[in-house]
Symmetry: C2
C-alpha cells in the first residue's frame, strides 16, 4: 500500500445519526431492500419480471426452468446482497441475514466445479462461456458478486461468498492469465470487485488480476472486433467497431477525456485510481486526473449527472449538456462518487469531495422517489410532460419514476450506495482524520471517536466532538471547507480559532493534542447562489440555476403554474430562504424569489412587445422533483 | 365547377422574367433536371444509386434485371417527368422532349394489359398487387404519374402518358369501386393526381374516384390493421395501429388538427380543398379551414416548415417546434404551398397567400443548394456542426446538403414546384384578376395581359402594366397586400390612388375600365421586422428572428464567428439593411445589427457576471444558409 494514500473507513466504524440521511437509510433498509427482494423473487405484480433469484436456483439444480432476463441479471442479486450486507451494519436483522445466507448457499451451488459462476451461460449457453466478453457481461457479474462477497464478509464475518468468489477469481486468472487467453471485460466492474477482494484479504493475486485487465484494455483496440469475427454469433446488436463505447479505443494510460458509456467509464476510472493508490503508478494517476478534469469541467451537469446522450448512455463532446434530452443515468452518478472517493484518498482535495457531495445530494438522490418505491434511470434537468417520455428524442426521459426496470441497474445501485454511505464520510492517514461529508453520527476511527452533529444540508453549522483513542497524542482533524462556504468560522471548544489557519486543497487542518470532549465547530453561511453556465453550453444561455450549499434547486409546475418556461427569475430580487418544512417532501427548505411571467397574444409569431406579470416563484431541491404527480420541471430558469 | 372558385392559371399563360426567380428556374432547367435525369439513369458517381429508369425498362421487358430502390421509386421518374414538362414550357428543348417521350414509351410498355402500372410489383411481387396499400405506395406512385401525365399533356399537347394513366385510373376504379374492394392509399397523392386528371380532361370519373378515396379515409380506422392481418406479410416496419401517421384515424371531415406524417397530411388536405372547390362540400371546407388554422397558428416554423418530429416525419402537438432537432421536410413545405393555393382559390385571402409566399421563399428554397446540385430533406432553424448530423436526436439534421438521397422525394419536388411557379402567381375569376405573388413577367390572362416588374423580395415596388384582352370592359385587379406591408401606396398611371380603397381579406381591389398600357404601382416599405414567438414554444423564449418582407434571416458562424449562441441582438439598435449584393450568395440583401457577445471564464458553472463585447452581426436570408461550408447557423437569436 502506498503510504501517502488515505485509509478507507470500514462501515462497522461508522454509525450515522443524521436528520437528513438516517431516514433515507431506514427507507433503504425497511422499504427498498425488502421491495427489491420481492422483485428479485418475482413476488411483485405490475412491474417488469426479474427472475434473478430463480436463475440462480435453476443454475444450482434446485429448480427446473429457463434463464430469463438480461444477460447480466445475476448482478441484480449481487447488488442486492451487497446492499443487504450494508443494511445489516445499519440495522441488524436476523431474518434478513438468514435469507441472505440461503441465497448465498444457492449461489455456491450454482458455482460450477471449475469455479465458473454465471447463470446465463450455465443455464443457456454452457458451451459459449468467455466467447462474448463484448456483450455478455460475465466479468461484470463476477465483479458485482465480488463486491457483495467483500461487503458480506466485512459486515457479517461470513466468508462463504468470499470463498466462492475467490474460486471464481482463480478460474478467471487461470483462463485469462495462466492460459494466456486474450480478453478484457465488455463492461468494466471486475476490476473494482477484484480490488475490493484485494483490500479485504490482502491477497496480491486479486490486485494483479485487476491490474491485468486495466493494463490489457485498449492495448489493441481491435480486440472486440476480432472476438466478434472469431465467435460467429452475436448476443445483441452492439457494434464492435465502437471502441469508445467501452473505453477500449486506447490504452487507459493514454486516455485523457471521458468517453463512451458513462457507467463503464466511471467504473473503470474508479479501478484505475484504486490501482494507482496501491502501486503509485504515475501515468495512471495522470490519466485519472486528466479524465476527472474533463468530466467536471466540461461534461457534467450541475447536478453531478454525467453521460448526456441516450445513444450508448454515453459521454459525447465537451459542453454538450442538453437539459431535456439528457441521459445522466443514476448509476453513472453513483459511479462518479466511487471515482471521486478513490481520487480523494489518493490526494485529499475538496475538488473531489465537492463533486462527490454534489452527485450524492442531487444526481443520485433524484433517482429515487421519496417513498423508496420508484426509481429514475434518467435524470433530466427539464421535463415537459406532454413531450418527455413521449416524442422521439425524449422517449427515454420519463417524467415520473417507474417502479422497476427490465434493465434494473439503478435501483440497487442507489440502495448499495446509501447503505454504505458511512464509507464516504471520513478518511484517515497515520496522523490526520479527514472529514469529507457533513453527515452526522459517531465514528470510531483509529485516532479518535468523533461525533458529528449537523443539520446539513439545511444549515452550515457542524459540531465535531472528539475523543482521542490514545493511539497518537497529536493529530490533525482536517475538515473540508466546501467551495460554496466563502467565509467560514471555526470554533475550538467554543472559542474562535483564527491563528494560523492551515488550509490546503480545501481542507482546514486543525493540528493539536486532543483532549477528550474537545469540540470543533464549523460555521458558514449558506446564501443562495445564482449559478451560471459556460456560454459553450447552448441550452443554458440566459438562464440561472439556484443552489444553496450542495443542493441544486428546481422549479416545478405544481408550485409555479403551467408553462414555467414563461417565468423569469428576477436578477435584482433577493432570494428568500424558507423555513425548514418537515412536512414538505420529507423535509426541505424551499426557496422563494420574485419573478415575472411573460405573455403576449395568441399568435404563433408576432411583432411587438411581451407583457410581464409579477409572480412569486417557488423552488424545491432538485432531488425531490417528481414526487407530487405529473408536472413540468426546470433547473435552469430564464433570468431577467 | 363551383362558380365562386377562382380559375387556376395554366403554365403556358405565364412567362416569368424576374431577377430573383428566372435564374432559379434556369438552374432547374439547365442543372437540376439534367442532373436528376443522370441520377435516375444511374450515371452519377458517388451518390445513392437510383435505378428508377432501369426499373421501368425491366418492367417493360426491355432489359433483364431486378427491381432496386424504395417501393415508391417510380414516383421519382414521375416527379422528374412532371418537372420536365414544366421546364419545356419555360425553355423548349427538343432533345429533352425526345428523351422524355422515350421514357414515356417505356412507361407505356411497362403498363400491364389490365392497365396496372407499378414496377415494384410487376417485377418483384406480381401476385401481391393491391394487398399492401399501407406501405407499398402503388396509389401514391400512380398519383404522381397522373400529375406528370397532365403536366406533359398541358405543355406538349401529347397525350400518350395521359392515356396510360387514364387506363390505370380505370383499372383502379374497377378494383376499388366496381368490384367493391376496400382500400385507401397508405400515402395520399392519388387524390391530387386524379383531381388534376379531372381538371385537365373534364371527365367526371376522375373526380368521383378522388372523392371516393377521400370519403373512405378514416371511415374505419382499423382498415390498415385488418389489411395487415389478412395479408400475412410485411413490407416494412410501419405500424398499422398508428392511424394518425397516415391520417386514417377519423373520417377526414372530422379532422380538425394536422396530424401524422406531414407530407401525407398536406397532400390530403390539398385534395380535400380541391374536391371542395368543385362540389362546394361545406364540411370538407370547414375541415380544411380548421386544419389550416391549426397548422399556421400552432404547428408551423416561421420558415413555413412543418412536421417537427423525425419519428414519422410528423406533426406532433401544438407549439412543439424545436429548432435543432426539427424535421420540417422540404416536401412538406412544398405540399403546404399546394394546400395554400387550393385554399386561396376557394377564398382569396392573403392569409393563405402570405403562408404560400413564406414557405416558398424560406422552407422550400432552403431545400436546394444555390448551385442546384445538393438538397436538404430536413430544414433546421439551428445547426451546430459538432452535433447536428452526428449525435442521437440530431442525426437526421444534416449541417450540409447531400447530393442525393436513397429516399429522393425532396429534390424533384422542389424542381417541379419551381418550374411550375407560373401557376401560383395569379388566379382569375370572371371579373377579377388576383395577383398573389410578386414574381415578375408577362401573363396572358383571360381578362388582360399583365406585365409585372418588380425587384421583389428585395424591394417593395411592383409595377403592373395592364393590356385588357377585351373579354370584358370592366374588371378588377386584386393585388395582395401582404401582412408585412403595414402602410402601402398605390399609384394608378403615376397618380396616387386613394379614393375608396377597396380592401377585402388582404387584397386591394382596383375596379375600373382598363385602357391599354394602364399602370398600377404598389409601393410599400420593407423595414426589418423583429419577430417573436408565442411563449408556449419553449425553444424561442428570449429570442428574436429577423424578417424583411417574406424573407426570414439567419445568422451563420462564417459571418459572425464561432459560438453564435453567445451573441445577442441589441433590442435598442436599428437594423441596417445592406445594399443588394449581386455577388453574395447569388444576390442577396444582407442585414447588419449591433449585438453583444457574452463571455465569462473557463468554468463550466460559476457565480458572477458575464462580460459583454460589442460586435456587429450579419444576417443572411435563411434560404441561402449552408452555402459556404460547414458552419453554425441560427434563425432565433437571443435578444437583449
Amino acid at each position: 500500500m502506498n503510504k501517502e494514500v488515505l485509509k478507507e473507513i470500514e462501515l462497522s466504524q461508522v454509525k450515522i445519526v443524521d436528520e437528513f440521511w438516517s431516514d433515507r437509510q431506514t427507507l433503504i433498509t425497511d422499504t427498498v431492500i425488502p421491495y427489491q427482494e420481492r422483485i428479485l423473487d418475482d413476488k411483485v405484480e405490475g412491474v417488469e419480471k426479474s427472475h434473478a433469484f430463480a436463475n440462480f436456483r435453476i443454475a444450482a439444480g434446485l429448480e427446473e426452468g429457463e434463464f430469463y432476463g438480461m444477460v447480466f441479471q445475476d448482478s441484480d442479486v449481487a447488488k442486492w446482497l451487497e446492499a443487504v450486507a450494508y443494511s445489516l451494519s445499519i440495522k441488524p436483522d436476523a431474518d434478513l441475514e438468514n435469507r441472505a445466507d440461503e441465497i448465498i448457499d444457492i449461489i455456491e451451488k450454482a458455482q460450477q466445479p471449475d469455479g465458473y459462476l454465471n447463470t446465463y451461460f450455465t443455464i443457456k449457453e454452457p458451451d459459449k462461456r468467455w466467447t462474448n466478453l463484448h456483450a455478455c457481461h460475465e466479468l461484470y457479474c463476477a465483479g458485482h458478486m465480488m463486491e457483495a462477497a467483500v461487503a458480506y464478509y466485512q459486515v457479517t464475518g461470513k466468508d462463504k461468498l468470499l470463498n466462492v468468489m475467490e474460486r471464481m477469481s482463480d478460474h478467471i486468472e487461470k483462463h485469462f492469465v495462466t492460459e494466456e487467453r486474450e480478453g478484457i471485460p465488455g463492461h468494466q466492474e471486475i476490476e473494482i470487485g477484484l480490488m475490493r477482494m484485494y483490500h479485504a484479504t490482502g491477497k496480491e493475486k486479486f490486485f494483479k488480476l485487476a491490474k491485468h485487465f486495466i493494463d490489457e484494455r485498449g492495448k489493441d483496440p481491435s480486440y472486440f472486433l476480432r472476438e466478434d469475427e472469431n465467435r460467429g454469433w452475436k448476443h445483441d446488436i452492439m457494434d464492435p467497431h465502437n471502441t469508445k463505447y467501452n473505453q477500449s479505443y486506447a490504452p487507459v494510460r493514454e486516455q485523457k477525456t471521458a468517453e463512451g458509456h458513462s457507467v463503464r467509464a466511471v467504473y473503470m476510472y474508479t479501478a484505475m485510481a484504486d490501482i494507482a493508490s496501491v502501486n503509485g503508478d504515475k501515468e495512471l494517476i495522470e490519466a485519472c486526473k486528466a479524465i476527472w478534469d474533463n468530466i467536471v469541467n466540461k461534461r457534467m451537469y450541475i447536478t453531478g449527472g454525467i453521460g448526456s446522450n441516450f445513444e450508448g448512455e454515453a459521454f459525447t463532446i465537451d459542453y454538450d449538456l442538453p437539459n431535456d434530452s439528457v441521459y445522466a443515468e443514476t448509476c453513472a452518478s453513483v459511479g462518479l462518487i466511487f471515482f471521486a472517493k478513490k481520487m480523494l484518498d489518493i490526494h485529499p482535495s475538496s475538488s473531489y469531495a465537492d463533486v462527490m457531495e454534489l452527485a450524492l445530494y442531487n444526481g443520485v438522490l433524484s433517482g429515487m422517489q421519496l417513498d423508496g418505491k420508484r426509481f429514475f434511470y434518467v435524470n433530466p434537468l427539464e421535463v415537459n410532460p406532454e413531450i418527455s417520455g413521449k416524442l422521439f428524442g425524449y422517449k427515454h426521459v420519463l417524467p415520473e419514476r417507474p417502479g422497476w426496470y427490465e434493465c434494473a441497474c439503478c435501483p440497487p445501485n442507489v440502495a448499495r450506495l446509501l447503505t454504505s454511505l458511512g464509507q464516504y464520510i471520513w478518511s484517515e492517514s497515520l496522523d490526520t482524520v479527514y472529514s469529507h461529508l457533513f453527515i452526522g453520527g459517531t465514528s470510531k476511527l483509529d485516532l479518535a471517536t468523533i461525533t458529528l452533529d449537523s443539520k446539513f444540508p439545511w444549515e452550515g453549522n457542524m459540531t465535531y466532538t472528539i475523543n482521542p483513542t490514545g493511539a497518537k497524542s497529536e493529530f490533525a482533524l482536517a475538515i473540508r471547507i466546501p467551495s460554496y462556504a466563502k467565509e467560514f468560522k471555526i470554533l475550538l471548544n467554543g472559542t474562535e480559532y483564527t491563528d494560523k489557519l492551515d488550509i490546503r486543497d480545501g481542507y482546514c487542518y486543525i493540528n493539536r493534542e486532543w483532549q477528550d470532549g474537545d469540540s470543533v465547530q464549523l460555521l458558514f453561511d449558506m446564501p443562495v447562489r445564482r449559478m451560471y453556465t459556460n456560454t459553450l453550453v447552448r441550452s443554458n444561455i440566459g438562464c440561472v440555476a439556484l443552489m444553496r450549499g450542495p443542493i441544486v434547486y428546481c422549479f416545478e409546475g405544481i408550485d409555479n403554474g403551467d408553462n414555467i418556461q414563461e417565468l423569469r427569475v428576477r436578477k435584482d430580487e433577493d432570494i428568500i430562504i424558507g423555513d425548514y418544512d418537515p412536512e414538505l417532501l420529507s423535509g426541505i427548505v424551499p426557496l422563494k424569489v420574485k419573478g415575472s411571467r411573460i405573455y403576449a397574444n395568441d399568435s404563433l409569431y408576432f411583432e411587438g412587445e411581451f407583457s410581464h406579470k409579477e409572480e412569486m416563484l417557488t423552488a424545491i431541491p432538485y432531488y425531490a422533483w417528481g414526487n407530487r404527480g405529473l408536472t413540468q420541471m426546470r433547473v435552469w430558469m430564464h433570468e431577467v
